[in-house]
Amino acid sequence: MKFSNIKYLLLRRVSQIGLLFLYFAGNAWGWSILQGDLSSSSLFGKIPLSDPFAILQIFATGAILGVNVLVGALIITLFYGIIGGRAFCSWVCPVNLVTDAAAWLRRKLYIDKIERKVWISRNIRYYMIVIALIVSAISGLAAFEVVSPITILNRNVVFGIGSGLGLIAAIFLFDLFVVKNGWCGHICPLGGVYSIIGKYSLLRVKHDSEACTLCMKCKDVCPEVQVLHMIGKKSITVNDIECTNCGRCIDVCDDDALEFSIGKYIKNHKESK
């Protein structure tokens, strides 16, 4: 296997595991590079970073929040809104490690070819956002934060293993045996939130249909396969908000028909108008 075939995959794993390690070290040895967890952290002991969706839920409960955490949420929102798009899901979120493993095993076991199809809508995540806010308002507790496998897995790494890992195992099995990319691609409301935040972000995957040989390897690996509707048809950027910028399609493409781009997106955007 060529390095160019796993470049972004490796980079993503380094990013995901590296961040988990920094969080772990922040608790275990008091490293002040990155402390807290994915709900809210402190970078170098100074810069706050907070999960905008958690903040929304806390607002829904009617609580008043400190300035620190609001600044943190603003920083995160601006970062993904201007640059990263939905990159949180594939470059930061630890659950992605689990669901990618499930998707990989699914391909190896040919489960897609064998199993009976269970269809669920990819829009469930957006309904989940609304429901999470309603439930937060009803119950007076940030609703997704008490069931979120993202923070549960994150806290299990940082603060010690607990039985919350059962939920992570359940998500692995769900993705493996029930719905392909079931959690990240259909249900997770945090993914939905970052999709919306990243609507106008700059970092995009660009397709060159001249170079494409229609091998469809990209569609095999893409966790949000509907965003690749232009493959072999049009030379445009992937503008659908559900693209996580994981770069796996770029990795597997042997024809240089896919690449990350920033400027081309702006140009492309102007042309389409």
């Binding site: 922040g26 608790n27 040895w29 008091g30 402390q35 807290g36 967890d37 709900s39 809210s40 952290s41 402190s42 706050p48 907070s50 999960d51 958690a54 903040i55 806390i58 409960t61 009617g62 609580a63 008043i64 929040l65 400190g66 620190n68 955490v69 943190g72 309904y127 989940m128 609304v130 429901i131 999470a132 309603i134 439930v135 937060s136 009803i138 119950s139 007076g140 507790l141 940030a142 609703a143 934060e145 008490v146 069931v147 923070t151 549960i152 806290r155 299990n156 940082v158 603060f159 010690g160 607990g162 039985s163 919350g164 059962g166 939920l167």
Partner: protein, 282 residues
């Protein structure tokens, strides 16, 4: 027979409304299930929170479950044994198996009590204000004041406390960081022997911060002195009862007048002279 095979025509309007009903129904189902779980997950009445935590209801709303308080607690410089090895922290982040709302900080004094650090490292790091620094800041000096901490209150089970048996033990009294203030020893005559004294530990709930050092120090198999959240451990006399001999106590009730106090029950619906003269009939 013909009727059986007849195909039902589904108009686009019917499809539209059925789809709406379908989505609303599924949404309502999810909301109900989720709200049921969340409401249940909220209920952890016996939980001891970090110092300066808001009232439990507000705390649960505001806490973002980031763990910065727990990290500040475990990584404080003085949290090391003589060899320099790190000791476990007081604050733990609730796991799914703890009977505490998941991801929120709490402590178990019998395992690791709160040592009431002078700089209270767990509080200033809170990004949301769920740990409210003003609750432990003395308004006069504008400095952190460990005496203002309020995590709970220590309760003595006088039946299992061996000091109340007449055995000599003052472990909790000695362990208390507010020595001779939060816990006092009351001397009583031991009439069983006729020549010994009981040295009974008595907690002053107005001073006790609920740090749990007494619970940790207690020598009995299961601690005879233990910390409970204040609203669980303490009763409330209410406004009906005022210590007439204590001028300050009148302030607690304020300027309430007798005619403002309305207790409604079968008896109060009658004039006292009526029911006192006519015997008990409520």
């Amino acid at each position: 027979m013909g009727q059986k095979n007849k195909k039902v025509e589904i108009s686009s309007r019917r499809r539209f409304f059925t789809n709406i009903a379908h989505n609303v129904g599924l949404g309502a189902m999810g909301t109900l299930l989720w709200a049921g779980y969340t409401t249940k997950a909220k209920s952890s009445p016996l939980t001891l929170r970090p110092p300066a935590a808001l009232e439990e209801d507000d705390f649960l709303k505001t806490c973002i479950k980031c763990g910065l308080c727990a990290e500040a607690c475990v990584n404080r410089p003085q949290n090391r044994d003589k060899e320099g090895n790190q000791l476990p922290g007081t604050l733990k982040m609730a796991k799914a198996e703890d009977s505490v709302t998941i991801g929120t900080p709490f402590f178990t004094p019998r395992d690791v009590p709160c040592f009431m650090c002078d700089d209270i490292p767990c509080v200033p790091v809170c990004p949301t204000g769920a740990l409210d620094i003003t609750k432990v800041t003395n308004p006069k000096t504008n400095e952190l004041d460990i005496r203002m901490m309020d995590m709970g209150v220590a309760i003595v089970d006088v039946h299992s406390c061996i000091a109340f048996w007449g055995l000599q033990c003052d472990a909790c009294y000695r362990a208390c960081p507010l020595l001779d203030e939060a816990i006092k020893l009351e001397y009583n005559r031991n009439s069983r022997t006729g020549k010994h004294a009981f040295l009974e530990p008595v907690v002053n709930p107005d001073v006790c911060t609920g740090c749990g050092l007494c619970e940790k120090a207690c020598v009995t198999e299961k601690p005879a002195i233990f910390v409970l959240p204040r609203d669980v451990a303490q009763g409330k006399a209410g406004d009906h009862y005022v210590k007439g001999w204590d001028k300050k106590d009148q302030q607690r009730v304020g300027d309430r007048k007798e005619q403002d106090i309305k207790t409604k029950n079968e008896r109060s619906s009658k004039n006292p002279t009526d029911y006192l003269n006519s015997g008990v009939e409520y």
